[in-house]
Every structure is written in structure tokens, then in C-alpha cells.
Amino acid sequence: MTETCRTLRDTIALEGLMPDDEALRAHLETCDDCTQFLERARAVELELDALGPEDVSDDVVETLLARPELTRPVRPRRSMQWALGLAAAAVLGFVALNITLTGHKEMRAPMTLNTGPGGGGGGGQTPKKEDNAELQATDELKSLGYLSGEAEAPEEDLSSVRRKFVQEFRENEVAEAIPEAVGEDERLAEKSKRTQGVVTVTGESPLIAPLEDVAVDFGVAGSVASPAPADTSAEEGFARSDADDALKGVLGGRASAVAPEKRVHVDPVYPAAGKDQNAIGVVVLRVAVDAAGNVTNAVVVRSVASLDDAAKEAVLQWKYVSSDQPVRTFEVEVTFGSEEPDGESAAFDRSRVDGLSFREAKGYWSNTYQPGDPAVRALKARLESAGFAVAPHAKARPVDQPFDAPARGALSVSMQADRRAIGGPSRVLVQVGVTGAAVRGRRRPPMNIGVVLDVENEAPASVRALIEALEQSKQMGDRFRLIIPGQGEVVAPESFHHGPVRVALDEAASSGDVSAALANALRWVHAGDDPTMPLGTSLVILVTPKKLGHELERLSQLAHRSAVGGVPVSVVGVGDAVDRDELDRLAMAGQARRYLLDNANDAAGIVSRELSAGSRVVARALRLRIKLAPGVRLVDVIGSHPLSERQTTQVKQAEKSIDLRLSRNLGIEADRGDDEDGIQILIPSFYAGDSHTILLDVVVDAPGPLGDVTAKYKDLTLLRNTEARASTSLAALSARNVYGPLETNVSENFLAHRLAERLERTSDSLRRGDSQGAVIVLEQAVAHFRARGRHHDIEMTRDLAMLRSYIQLVTAASEPSLLSYLADSLRFAAATKLSPSAST
């Protein structure tokens, strides 16, 4: 499409007519596409013209005309009344401003994230706040991700944006690393310089400009907050009287629509008073900028008492791009993280190497890889069925893991530090990564499935579709059977074909005890379980449209016993009458899945998932042994904990049980039983295509080896015991190339862990009924992420948007059902953040 095509189409779209312009008309004669466009436009215009009139009923008109309000005489213009009204509005506005200043800034701020200079508000025009509440509400919802918007970056652009950000991040990291190379004195001098305020000149970058400028040095950040409304109306003027009056008193100018691009950034000096109080938070200021880009005035609109002056002092030194507007006003944020890594901040700040306590780098530690965790699946199902329109957890995305897929075998293992080199004693993150083979095209093993169909009278269409989908998925060696309470096994494995299945469905009428039917089904399926087949290939599916009531307890006991014996029990709830909590409990007891079947279209998907569930596991009994090199001291295994003696015994028993079973079933030699040196983590099953990371927080005294990892596992793709190894070391710091993409990935995983912890803590606060505490945790997380995180990272931007969504929702929510929903949502987001397959 040429420029002329675009001009022509814009003109047609604006006027709805053939354009008058001769050149455009001439273009039409030569361009078939534009001619077709004009024809379509004409057709639309004709249809618009043909829209019939809409009329209200006469009754409504009569009701209107009879309304008592209309019997009052129209008020004459009275200047005195107007003045009194204005005075009252001023008082109300003042009160509103106070409420605003003490409220949560995040409820207004996030518009910044998708809006850059010239990018928002219709080409620099920001509509009046009062008159355009709808627009603003839409923008806010967009910025929170409830609605997608034209302003958002297309998905395909994210990778290029991300690459650029990673590049810039790497440069920043190198710049930060250099002081370590030049000795402690220089490092202290550098730190001292930073605390005195560092001037950073921001270059022009169309990609970076729309996002925030954040200094990462010691947790102090400055950024542009939401664009201030331009055309401040009279009412708004009162609502913002403090800030605006202070500015207007000096400037007498007109507020600017969009925050301009910042050219010079000065970090605030963290005040001694703030240190004493361990103060962190976000100070929001309304600034006035002259035509040359100098900040000429700044008024605090959201205060963090001990930090206001420092924020103001820094902001007054900032410079923006020049403009022909004499005065521009907008809001900016200055974020303070605590410089001292105590308490909350310690979770993020890892610069300290002295005064730490260390753990023994040996023994069994808890497993953090939990794909398909029944609890998370139950959580997901609850969220989906809760009926709330908002789903902030949908923003939670796991970190993209850059691990290579295994060249041969089921798993690959890697070991990676968060930097390539050190100059002296350093706190380092060491990441162990495990990746499962994709195993594409792997044929599923023969399945041994019993379906208990608890339906009264005729089976509904959705149930028919389910059983027919199962029948159509049948492959050589499959043994499917159909059991109906009161009727027993109505279709045996050898006759599970279209005809007999259809007849059984026509005559399906459950008349007996569903527990007895399940017990029978389990007995038959267990009896038909082929010991040469892998685990998970035998299962029972209970299909029910009813509440289970008093039968739940008995059914759960049966399901649990069966799952322990190697045959899981899944549940399919049909229609609206089922109790989802009951089904969740039963599916958890049966160590399998729960589905809701509302219509026939869902049936094939359910069958497909059930049949593929067992065949997705590529490795069993994965034992990771991580040995740290001499001189490397362990601070923590992030997200994990050492197991007690009793737990260790249980884990070893489970490992031995899998070992023996696979030896018996698949002929993979039993090789487990002995303990090994180092940290040991046992992962029972690892799924195809999954990735998992384990992060170790260590202190390293000098360059050299960091450690090694060995992964021993039962390889279900090669049907043998397999071992994979990896190791890593740190070089002596020379100058550059300290941080690369792989090192960045380690930091991102660390932040993902920290985010997940805070989301879980917020969820716990909500469960305790402490909404205020929940908001505080979230706000602290926002402050820390802004201060410590790499603000130009697109994932970080998304995480911050998610946190702000939660702040807004938790602040607004009061209904117990909604609070419970948000607690579930937070926990689910935490699980998703750490594992892509948490809920599969």
C-alpha cells in the first residue's frame, strides 16, 4: 500500500465520501485496491443511512412527563448560588485531595507503562478528566491488562524489544561491575559517589523512551508517573488545589498533556533520617518544566515523610527535552529501596558478603519442581469457575529458560552463575537447570481404562460425546471398559466398539451405589494392569452429574488407595449440579485430574488429555546431586529447605519404590539406595518439554570452580539409567563481558522466586482477612522490583503491571468471595511464575 493509498483511505474514512482532491481521484482510476475500498466504504455508508429509527414507548414518555422533578420550575441563573456551590465544591475538592494523597498511588500510576512521549492521549491531547471518565477508565483497564489496546506492543515485537533491553541491561551490569575490579577503596569511593547523586544522561531511544528511567544503583529510582490531565477543569483545579496552586502560583501556566522525555536524571541522596527509619517507598511529585526542559518547581503529592526532601532535591535537577510550550506539568515518581539489606530488603539485596550465616551443602532438600500439582490444578479450576471477570493471574508468565534441549536421552542439565567473573569475595547465584526432551510424535503406550458412568436415565449428549471420543481414540492394545452403578460392567474391553457402546449409552441408567461401582472398576483395572507397562497407563475415570454428598468420603478412600497402588482416579463433572469442591477433593485423592463437561465440544479434549497424561513423563526418579567446590559457602537453596530425617526416609522410600517398579516393568536396572555427597534433590517425574531451575545463593571467596551437578534418572525414552553432568566456574575479573544473556537469565529466575514468595505471602494475608497487610506486601514488592529489577525488561514490566492490578483489586475488594478468589489468584500466579507446567 502506497502513501497515496493511505491518504485516500483516510480521507474516505473521514468524510464517508469520494474525495474531492483531483490527485486522489486520479489515483483511484489506477488502483484496484483503493477502488474496492471505496466500494466497501460506500456500502457501509448506505447501510448506516439505512439504519432504522429507534423509538421509546409512549408509556415511557408519559411516565417521564409525570415525574415530580419536572413539576419544579426551572432554576433561574443566580450568581450567588453558583458562588456558594463553587465554595462547597472547593471544600469537597480539598477533602478529595487529602484522600487522594493518603491513598494508593498505584491506582493511578500504571498508565505510564504503555504510554510514552507522544504516544498517549490522542497525539498529545489529553481529554478532560471529568468529561472523559469513560476514556480514562478504558485506558486504566487497558494499562492493567483487562482490555488490550492499540497502544500495546504487538506480541511479535516483544522479542526485539527484549533483545535491546537485554543488551542495555548487560552494559549497565558491566558498568556496575567495574568498581569491583579496582579494589575495595575505589569501590567505596564509587559507592560514596553514588550516594551523593549520580548524573545520568539518557540518550534518545525510541524503544526505551516509552518506559521508565530507573536507576538501579542502590535502589533509588526516578520515573515518570501517569500523564497529568491537560486541560484542567474547574472542578479538577479544586481537587488538586495544593499541588496546582503551588505550581500555578509560580508559573501561571497550563498543564502539559504528556510527560516529556527525560534527558538528565539525578539520583536522590538517600537521607540519614530515611536510613534510621529503614524507609522505603515511592514519593510522587508534580513538577513544572520550562520550555528549556528545566524542572522549575516540584510539589509532593504523595509523601514518604523522611524521603520527600531528598526526592524533591533530585527531581529539581532533572532535565527534559525542550519544547515550545512555556510550561509543562506532570507527575513523576521517585522510588526508594532501602540501602541496608535488612529484613524485607535482604530478600532482594545480595550485595552483602559479611555477617551471613551459612548452611551445610549436603543432605536431602525439598523438591521445587511440581508440574501438574493437583493443588495448583484444583486452584486453577476454582478460578475458572468462580465467575469473576478479572484474572490478574493471567499476567503471570514463567521466565523463558534458554536451555538447550537434550541431544540424546530424556534430560539435559546445566549449571550457570549469575556472572562470569569476580574480583574478590562475592555473593553469587548458581543456577542448576534441567530440561526435558520434547519427544515429539511419541506414540502413547496402550492404556487400561475403566470408566464409571453415574448417569440416571439416558446419558446426556455431552456424556455420549465423551464415551464416543474415548471409543474413537482407541488404539491397538488399549483396554477400555464401561461400568454403570447397578448394572456392572456394561461394555467389556473386548467389545468396546461403536455398536455396543451406543447400545450401552442408550440404556444407561445408574441405579446402584457409585462407591461399589468404583470399587469394582478399580478391581478390574488393577487386575488388568500389565506389569510391563509404564506407570500411569492404567486409570479409572468417574463421570458424574451429581453431588457426591456422603459418598465422597468412601470414594476418596478408594481413589487414594488405588493411586498409591499405581492406578490414579480422574473425575469428570457433568452439568451444573456437581459440587466442584467435592470433585477437586476426589481428584486430589486419586492423584489425577478433574474436568467439568458442559457441552459435547469439550469431550474430545478431555479424552485427549487423559490419554496423553501418562505418556508425557520422560524421566522418573531424577536425583540431582549438587556439589559445591571448596571455598564456596552455601547461604541458601532458594525456595527449598533441608528435609527432616523422617521426610528424608519417605523420599528415599519413594525413590526406591519407583526404582523397583521400573526395574520390574521396564527392565531398567534398579540402582538406587546409596546416599551421595552434596545437596540431593529427588524429583519423582519430569515431563516432556519442561524446564526447571534450582537456585543456590553462595558466597565465593575467589575466582575458580563453583561446583558441579549430576542428574541421575530413569530415562523413559531410552529405557535405561542415565546420568548427565555439568559444572561451572568463575574467572578473574578483567574488565568487560561479565554479564551475558545466560547470566541475565539467572537474575531473572531469582526475581521470579522473590515475586512468587511475595504473591504467596499476600495470599496468606488475604486468607487471614488482612487486606491492609496484603496491600503493604504488594506495595513493598513494587518498590523493590522497581528499585532492584531491570526496568527495561518486558517481563519486569508485565510483573509490575500484575502487582499493580492486585493492589487495585485488593484495595477495592470487600466481599469475602472476591477476597477468597484473589487469594487463590495470587497463589496460582505464584505457581505459574515458577513453573510453566504448574497447572497442566
Binding site: 419536572l70 476514556l135 471477570a389
Partner: protein
Amino acid sequence: MEIEPVPEPAEKLLVAHREGEPGAFRELVERYRRPVFGYLVRCGVAEADRDDLFQDVFVKVHLSAHRYDAARPLHPWLFTVVANTVRTYFKKKRARSLFLVEADADPALTVADDAPDGEAIAVAKETSSWLRKAIHALPMPQREVLILAKIERLPLQDIASSLSLPLATVKTHVRRARLRLIDAYERRNEARHD
């Protein structure tokens, strides 16, 4: 030959009502009942709420009549009241829909990036016309500008003052709205041919 009386200009009707002339307000309502109700329908106000909102508009007209400047045309002034009433309505609806899924919302219809809420979508489901659905799927600012420009035939400058928007923004909304409708028209034709 019977000569039909020339109707009073609408501006005079509101002034007359302001001055207490009986019957003037009824005539004003009769004059504007279709355009106002049509605006409510096309903007996506739910059927259950339209009658109430229609009454609200005229009650507001009555209560604000003293602010009307008789030297200016009534049409844009009145549609300022209508547009603000509808915006307030959607604002409240959105606040509610933030937490509650509309029972009859069809996710498949949520195609527009900043499409109307579930209520408006439900309205779209009531209609059979693709065009009505396409209008309901427009973002609110584009929808209201298009309706005022194309259906209510308000000049763009009047729309700008009615909605307190810069003229350039109004033009942008009109252009984008038409482009979306043309696109919807094309997609509908393609679907029919498939």
C-alpha cells in the same frame, strides 16, 4: 388548501419551558425522543436500562435548562447531556463488571480491543444486523462520535464541543470508526463467501 404550521425551533421550546410555558417540554421530548433513544440503543445501553436512562436524560435537560444559552443551537447542547449520561452509565457498569461476569456475555464477541462491556455485547446479540454489532464493537469514543456524526448528523465541530474533545481527536475517532466498519464489512463478506 391547509397549510401545515411551521414547527417551533427546538431552541425556542426549551426557552419556553424555562419560562414556564406548559406543553413546551412535552413537545421538546416528542421532538427528541427518537434521536435520544436511538443514541442509547446504538451506544450499547442494555435494553433493561434504556427506558430509565431515557428519562434520566430529559430530567437532566430540565434541571440544567437554566444553563442553556439560547443563542446557541440546542442539538449539540442536548447531546452533551445525552453523551455524559451514557458515559456515566458505562462507567458504573464497568465498575460492576470489574468484578462480575455478565451472565450472558459471549466471549466470542469480545473482539474489539477496547470493546464495550458484556452488557453492550449482550445488546449486540439481540440485534440481527452485522452493522449494529460492528457499531457496538467499536471503542466507546469512536462509537459515540460516529453515531453523532453519521446518524445524528452533528457537524464535527459541534461534536467536539459536545464531547469536550479537540476537533482533531473527533476526526481521528470518526476515521478510525469508519475504517473498522469497513473492515468488519469486508470480513463479513468473506465469511459469507466461505
